[in-house]
Symmetry: C2
Subunit: 207 residues, 2 copies
DNA sequence: TTTGGTAGTCACTAATTAGTGACATACTTT
DNA sequence: AAAGTATGTCACTAATTAGTGACTACCAAA
């Protein structure tokens, strides 16, 4: 029988409370008092179990998977078809579509990204570094197949950064450059824009 | 002779203190105590002269010209040549170049943009709205000349958003998607990427 | 059943926050 | 010069912050 006093469970409650607060209000109002109250747990346990708020945040960050899961996006790829330019184009669109969808849907990821922008500490630096390492999958795929990494890298950087910023903006703004980023319709137009860029680029390669 | 007690000067000291703090540490540590200390002025004057911190921040934001000054970028345009597709293409590149340069150089603008991302209040909402209104100049120019606003809007949104996010990231990250966003070289590559997109798009129109 | 360690509670400190009321001093107007 | 007003100073409150020390209660092993 599980003990009435359960350290593991209490730790988990604290970690979950961090997620709840970040998802609801962002990282601004996070502090030992807030988290302890949300978890309905005494704040002294944060110090006992995690050594302080930083340790708790670290535990939180490493339990969740905050970088975009590129491997998942790459799962559906049929390697033997990658030499088919047309297939490669579709894969590219598919990956960008996945990034857009994930960025729009994952509120906690949005908050983490903003946190990384606002304050740089050991934790946010680590998260950013992990993301940078894992997030260049599309570039590597295209450069591996096309042998044009130099040219394609900045293009993907612009596009991914654009989608990211639009998603972050959509938290509080309804429009950006005339596009309604608070509606599915507007995001559909953005996706069309992404596809257009991909189409144009692959066309230019075919020539 | 100027009086020893100078309300105007004191107000300006407070406004400047806001700028100093924002430039140094961003919006995180801003508060009546911090600002008053930085300005070497009693905090009660913030309430007397500005009605509180919000009023002071508003005065700060509106004293500076924080939206990208589109009018300035549009100054060099020779209207009679705008029907020349090739000239239009160059103007587009030039405007994007201006946005990129401004975003990279203007640290205070970067902080304001991050502030807008982090907390939404009357002031940040107003700033965002102003920027949205003024910031669609390029779109209007192209759609006016090309009559393809629907298609061009999301493309520009993605590109401008991308440049913005890369600039914000560059405050604390050295790389994004393999591009070195902390070096002039890396930003040169990004600009090449922008030009590439513009070239491709205008090519597609010529067909 | 006693004993030792641990999970969890509670009450406190010291620092910092936003905001206010009372006061003094300088400048201006009469 | 006298009086009044506005500028600036100081001391205070109440709330909230991070962090600590002392305590109780439970659980497991001896």
């Amino acid at each position: 029988m599980a003990p009435q006093r359960d350290k593991e469970q209490t730790m988990q409650r604290l970690i979950d409370a961090v997620g709840t607060i970040i998802g609801r209000e962002g990282f601004r109002n996070i502090g030992v008092n807030t988290v302890a109250k949300e978890a309905d747990v005494d704040k002294v346990l944060i110090y006992r179990y995690f050594g302080g708020l930083d340790g708790l945040l670290k535990a939180y960050a490493y339990q969740k998977d905050f970088w975009l899961n590129i491997d998942k996006l790459f799962g559906d790829i049929e390697p033997e078809r990658l030499n088919d330019m047309c297939y490669l184009k579709e894969i590219t669109k598919q990956i960008l579509h996945g990034q857009l969808t994930e960025m729009r849907a994952n509120k906690e990821l949005q908050e983490i990204l903003i946190w990384e922008l606002v304050e740089r500490n050991n934790l946010t630096a680590q998260l950013a570094a992990d993301r940078e390492e894992k997030g260049t999958g599309l570039t590597r795929l295209l450069s591996g197949k096309l042998g044009i990494a130099q040219e394609v890298e900045p293009l993907i950087a612009i596009v991914i950064a654009g989608v990211t910023y639009l998603a972050l903006r959509s938290r509080s703004d309804s429009h950006f450059n005339g596009v309604n980023i608070s509606s599915a319709d507007g995001w559909g137009r953005i996706e069309e824009g992404l596809n257009k860029i991909v189409d144009l680029y692959f066309e230019s390669l075919a020539k």
